[in-house]
């Protein structure tokens, strides 16, 4: 029987582990276990304890841990009750697991070496480091759909395209700057001054207001008129040039 070990070093947070092999290696390392002679009953129990909270993980990750648990239990069973048809006395039920652990450990080591190379390379900067080189164009992804699926999609598309939705779009008349210039001048020909709001009132749309304002600014620039406003958000007044003095006097 295995002795119960103090469980503190084995209290694990499952999320920390990349997968079941990672967790197994952790358990083996923490207890200085010889990987070629794994006490399978003890490791199985500890593994099951460790994955007690497995339902917190997303389904796929949880499945990976549960699958390993099943493998461990199967190995344990085969060690307790060797199959009578196992002619090979030498066959250790743990052999495949050991092979996988060593292989995984091997690549973990390789990954550590890669991390070292990555750190070293990162200490060299190329010209243009501020704007990294664009990644190469995405690779062509091999088609995974079958022809019937493609045809179905094409037919569905044709179905959709056949009946165009009846609909009408009403577009407003474009507002021309020249028209506004003429209009502003014509209004000012009749009156020495006019409130800006009244220039826009006949139409009332934002576009007319914008173009009217631009027209007034343009005419101001040409010296044809002046714009005055007593304070921000107060009514804006448009004066024929030379008239605002009279207004001031008034």
């Amino acid at each position: 029987m295995d002795e119960a070990l103090p469980l503190d070093p084995l209290a694990v947070r499952l999320e920390r582990f990349q997968g079941p092999l990672d967790l197994l290696l952790h358990l083996i390392r923490e207890q200085d276990i010889d990987v070629f002679d794994i006490p399978i009953a003890r490791i199985t129990r500890q593994f099951l304890d460790a994955i007690a909270g497995v339902e917190r993980l997303e389904l796929e990750r949880a499945g990976e841990f549960v699958e390993m648990a099943a493998t461990l239990i199967r190995i344990k069973a085969r060690m307790l009750f060797p199959r009578p048809d196992d002619d090979d006395e030498e066959a250790d039920p743990r052999a495949e697991l050991v092979r996988r652990l060593l292989e995984y450990e091997h690549f973990r080591e390789a990954a550590d070496r890669l991390a070292v190379s990555e750190r070293e390379r990162a200490r060299h900067h190329a010209k243009g480091y501020v704007e990294p080189r664009p990644a190469p164009a995405a690779h062509e992804v091999p088609l995974e759909s079958t022809w019937p699926e493609v045809w179905e999609a094409v037919l569905a598309l044709a179905e959709r395209l056949r009946e165009p939705e009846p609909g009408y779009t009403v577009r407003g008349r474009p507002v021309r700057m020249e028209e506004k210039l003429t209009y502003v001048l014509s209004v000012l020909a009749d009156a020495p001054r006019v409130e800006f709001a009244s220039l826009v009132a006949p139409w009332g749309t934002r576009m007319h207001a914008v173009i009217s304002l631009l027209a007034c600014l343009e005419l101001t620039k040409r010296g044809t008129l002046r714009l005055r406003q007593s304070a921000p958000f107060q009514p804006l007044w448009v004066f024929r040039r030379g008239e605002e003095k009279e207004a001031d006097a008034a």
């Binding site: 997968g19 010889d34 990987v35 991390a115 190379s117 060299h124």
Partner: protein, 180 residues
């Protein structure tokens, strides 16, 4: 015009490694061997003068890079982005692909004991691995291999720069007997 200065200008203007053959294309008087000789001369010159950069061999080419001792200086300059590091799952997956290529997703998953779809997609998007072939058998699975960008990312001249498998210690073998 001095040929070594032409090579220097090209290296300076390039932000990616250039092979000797590519460099030789700038002038009809150059061939690969001549370029190698010119590069060796430039290297000596930079070393002698203690320049902050040097010519480094990366991904089968040559690239002007700053010397590592200047990294802290550059990192103090706030427009230099911190070097992008790959996650542990990404590094493990890359290691498997680097040593086993061409290799399918199933083998990667078998070795790591976890699903590899997401990691493979990320590595592919970052241009570190690519589909190099299709395997035999059911569904003709996609087989992955490493790219030139992989070599650039890790500063390898070629795939031969990977540590040899027999040089990777397997720590688990030197463990203490305690259960016997």
């Amino acid at each position: 015009m001095r040929p070594d200065r032409m090579v220097e200008a090209l290296l300076f203007a390039s932000d990616a490694p250039l092979s000797a053959a590519e460099i030789a294309r700038i002038d009809e008087s150059l061939d690969e061997q001549r370029v190698e000789a010119l590069l060796a001369g430039l290297r000596l010159e930079y070393e002698r003068e203690g320049r902050a950069f040097g010519i480094f061999e990366i991904a089968g080419g040559y690239q002007l890079l700053t010397r590592p001792e200047y990294a802290p200086v550059l990192e103090r300059f706030d427009t230099v982005p911190p070097p992008a590091r790959l996650s542990a799952p990404a590094l493990e997956t890359l290691a498997i692909i680097a040593y086993r290529q061409p290799v399918g997703r199933a083998e990667v998953e078998e070795i790591r004991g976890v699903g590899a779809g997401g990691v493979l997609k990320t590595l592919q998007e970052r241009g570190l691995v690519e589909v190099v072939a299709r395997g035999e058998g059911l569904g003709r699975p996609l087989l992955y291999g490493t790219t030139g960008l992989f070599l650039e990312h890790f500063g390898f001249r070629s795939i031969e720069d990977l540590p040899r498998p027999e040089d990777l210690p397997v720590v688990l073998t030197r463990s203490v007997e305690r259960d016997g």
